[in-house]
């Protein structure tokens, strides 16, 4: 019975969402308006119940439900029975729509104005589309008869805490932008932007952006630990899909700041809101339609892909059409000079969006080529590195300078004078790299110089501010820390492969690693080996590392769990694999300089964003 209840909740939710959305019809407005708050509660409750139902079905291992059979089994640890709820297509779509509904509820809790009511209705319309998608193409409660005795495997790569937390955070980000989108569409529908609109979207942009920042960071951390390749970013389409809305979201965050303070860029902010949510939808499409796994499997079972694509077309097309019709009415008459804080922000916006467009091109081109001409190709990582990285470096130079520039009109000389310590620090960092680095000196100088410039500029800016507004500082400082991490890791990572037997030792960037012990691991879920390594530097032991090599019994597939000694300036990373010869194991060792800076920086940026929501000060 339980699965049918789940389905029933979803159908009821669809009806409630349709009721909410009917507010958009002028004739129904009067009747629907009083019901909106109650409907928002009911809507969230119903979807929560549906989500809980799926989770219970997984916990109880009800193998009459296809979703449970395909993505769970009796030996799976409880944590992954729960986390696996959103680790598969149907469940993750349910999570998507759940966040959509809960955010709609949160929006309906703010003071009711016509803008809010319209936005709730738009949000409900988005919900209707997604619920239809789930009910028509991805029913999580579909059953088979007779029931199975046990389920299939959850992809072993997904059995990790990083990936258990990664999708919910990413979705908080993706779907958070839906509120911004709904408010933007509401403003367009009303034909003008009400006073206080920018303040209204402000916390939503920040919340979505912060969640997305952490989500991307976590995804990257997961790839680092689980894929066993010691890297943190591969320019994989799935990764790019999350980066795209982040880039345009960053632009939106800054433009909305101009809108709040100066009342300018109204239509630009609206457009960015639409684009950012559009890119969030695109990210969902890329990861959920199967188009990345195989263009052919997408073409042979196109229902899901076509539905999402249709959804994107309707949502984005409708919003852009509305924008084209209405945006002209809301431009302000204020003049903008490039040499001012707002001017700098606009320039930065252009660079961020250009970077976004180049990443989009590289991500979609292979798919389009394969669909249209059948040619199979990939766009190599060097393209992204050569294009997107410089395009993103330029806004970071401005990010150091812009906070020193007043609104409206700023004498450049004065700002440069204020930024002098930062310039000197950048120069010092470059000279240091020149003195210390042995390879990739020029790129290293640029990266570290940029990072140091932004770090010192942010610190100096913080010192000048009387109100110690930490959020801007943390945002920029975090970005600088990420730059340092990417530079260090990208340029000076060292990797070694050594076939080793017990007692063998090897030297890695000044560290001495000895293979000390081998043991077998057997759990209900997998079996494998755990090898122990003692890592020392200058005769002193630094760490005991025990990487594992596992065979997941049900999936019959291998997976390695790297052992990492996390450090402030470097990680020592060891992964093992069978060498093919008895008694010898293939050991991968990595010396990863400054990689921790990348996650730390992401976290700092996100904390900055969250602090700004609550207007926290030091």
């Amino acid at each position: 019975m339980l699965p049918e209840f789940g389905l029933f909740f979803l159908i009821l939710a669809l009806l409630v969402a349709s009721l909410q959305a009917s507010y958009l019809m002028p004739a129904a407005q009067k009747f629907v308006a009083p019901c909106l708050p109650a409907a928002a509660w009911l809507q969230s409750l119903l979807i929560t119940l549906a989500f809980a139902t799926l989770m219970i079905l997984r916990l109880e291992s009800d193998f009459s439900v296809i979703n449970v059979i395909q993505h769970s089994n009796l030996t799976l640890p409880t944590l992954y029975k729960i986390a696996g709820t959103w680790g598969n297509h149907e469940g993750s779509m349910l999570l998507w729509v759940w966040v959509l509904a809960v955010f709609g509820l949160a929006l309906s809790r703010s003071e009711h104005s016509s803008t809010i009511q319209t936005a709730i209705a738009v949000q409900a319309l988005l919900c209707v589309g997604f619920l239809l998608f789930i009910l028509c193409t991805s029913n999580p409660f579909a059953r088979i008869f007779p029931p199975m005795a046990d389920g299939e495997a959850l992809n072993p790569l997904l059995q990790d805490i990083g990936l258990a937390m990664h999708p919910p955070l990413l979705y908080l980000g993706y779907v958070g932008f839906s509120i911004v989108f709904s408010l933007a569409v509401a403003a367009l529908l009303q034909g003008n932007m009400k006073r206080g609109w920018a303040e209204l979207v402000h916390p939503w942009i920040l919340a979505a952006w912060s969640a997305l920042t952490i989500g991307i960071g976590l995804g990257s951390w997961w790839a680092y630990r689980v894929l066993g390749w010691g890297g943190f970013w591969f320019w994989d389409p799935v990764e790019n899909a999350s980066l795209l809305p982040w880039l345009s979201g960053t632009a939106l965050l800054h433009s909305n700041y101009v809108l709040r303070k100066r009342g300018m860029l109204k239509s630009w902010v609206i457009l960015l809101s639409i684009i950012t949510f559009g890119l969030s939808l695109l990210g969902t499409f890329l990861t959920r339609s199967g188009v990345l796994i195989s263009v052919h499997s997408f073409a042979s079972d196109p229902a899901r892909g076509i539905f999402i694509l249709g959804y994107i077309t309707v949502v984005l097309g409708g919003a852009l059409l509305l924008f084209a019709l209405r945006a002209g009415q809301m431009e302000s008459q204020e003049k903008m000079l490039p040499l001012s804080r707002e001017g700098m922000i606009v320039i930065n916006n252009l660079f961020l969006l250009t970077a976004c467009a180049t990443v989009l091109l590289g991500t979609l081109y292979p798919m389009i080529m394969q669909l249209t001409s059948g040619t199979k190709l990939t766009v190599g990582a060097p393209y992204f590195n050569a294009i997107a990285l410089p395009l993103l470096a330029i806004p970071l130079i401005f990010a150091g300078l812009a906070p020193f520039m007043p609104w409206q009109h700023a004498p450049l000389r004065q700002a440069l004078r204020q930024a002098k310590p930062a310039m000197l620090a950048a120069l010092a960092a470059m000279l240091l790299v020149l003195a210390v680095a042995k390879i990739k000196i020029v790129l290293g100088m640029l990266g570290m110089g940029l990072s140091m410039w932004l770090i010192v500029a942010s610190l100096r800016w913080l010192k000048q501010r009387a109100d110690k507004h930490l959020s801007v500082f943390l945002g920029h400082f975090g970005a600088a820390v990420v730059v340092a991490g990417i530079t260090g890791m990208g340029l000076w990572q060292q990797e070694f492969l050594r076939p080793m037997k017990i007692g063998d030792s090897t030297d890695v960037a000044g560290y001495h690693a000895v293979y000390t012990k081998e043991s077998t691991v057997i759990t209900p879920n997998y079996h494998g080996w755990r090898d122990e390594f003692s890592v020392s530097k200058n005769g002193k032991e630094v760490a005991q590392l025990s990487p594992e090599y596992r065979i997941y019994d049900i999936a019959k597939s291998p997976g390695s769990v790297a052992a990492v000694d996390y450090g402030f300036t470097r990680d020592i990373y060891i992964a093992i694999a069978p060498s093919g010869t008895e008694g010898i194991v293939a050991v991968r060792l990595y010396y990863n300089p400054m990689i921790g800076f990348i996650w730390t920086g992401c976290l700092l940026m996100a904390i900055g964003g969250i602090m700004a929501i609550f207007k926290l000060k030091l």
Binding site: G343, K376, T378
Partner: protein
């Protein structure tokens, strides 16, 4: 400087930047397209030995030979044609005989491929999508 002039400079500079970045983008884009081939493809077409390509198929059973210094040779097959591959370096966990593999590198001649990189691409079914397509083409695909 009058605001009008400032705006003119602003627009000019932006357009200039845009053009330069578009130019650089397209150049880098063209240079970094990596085409995918199956063993049958490389046997039939002449492939520039200077050009980085991807070669995908199954690792031929019994073809893996390990040498010193992590040197390894094996064959990639699509059921019709085999191509010998040499590689030195790290192998992904999922590299096994009879399994799908994608190698990135250069065709030395029509039967020898020097791999720079063995890719650890994987999806839920542990089969690189290019390999699935290549196998379907040669008629050896047994999955769905």
């Amino acid at each position: 400087m009058k605001p009008k002039h400032q705006r003119l400079i602003f627009v000019t500079v932006s357009v200039l930047f845009l053009c330069i970045s578009a130019l650089l983008t397209l150049r880098a884009f063209r240079d970094n397209l990596v085409f995918f081939y199956s063993p049958s493809d490389v046997a039939q077409q002449h492939i520039d030995p200077e050009r980085l390509i991807r070669l995908g198929g199954l690792v031929e059973n019994g073809s893996i030979k390990r040498g010193d210094d992590n040197r390894i040779t094996f064959e990639i097959t699509d059921g019709k044609t085999k191509v010998g591959v040499t590689y030195q370096g790290l192998l992904p966990d999922l590299f096994r005989e009879g399994q799908g593999v994608v190698a990135e590198g250069y065709m030395k001649n029509t039967t020898h491929f020097a791999a720079k990189n063995i890719l650890a691409k994987h999806d839920e079914k542990y089969m690189p999508r290019e390999v699935v397509d290549a196998l379907k083409k040669s008629g050896r695909w047994k999955g769905q």
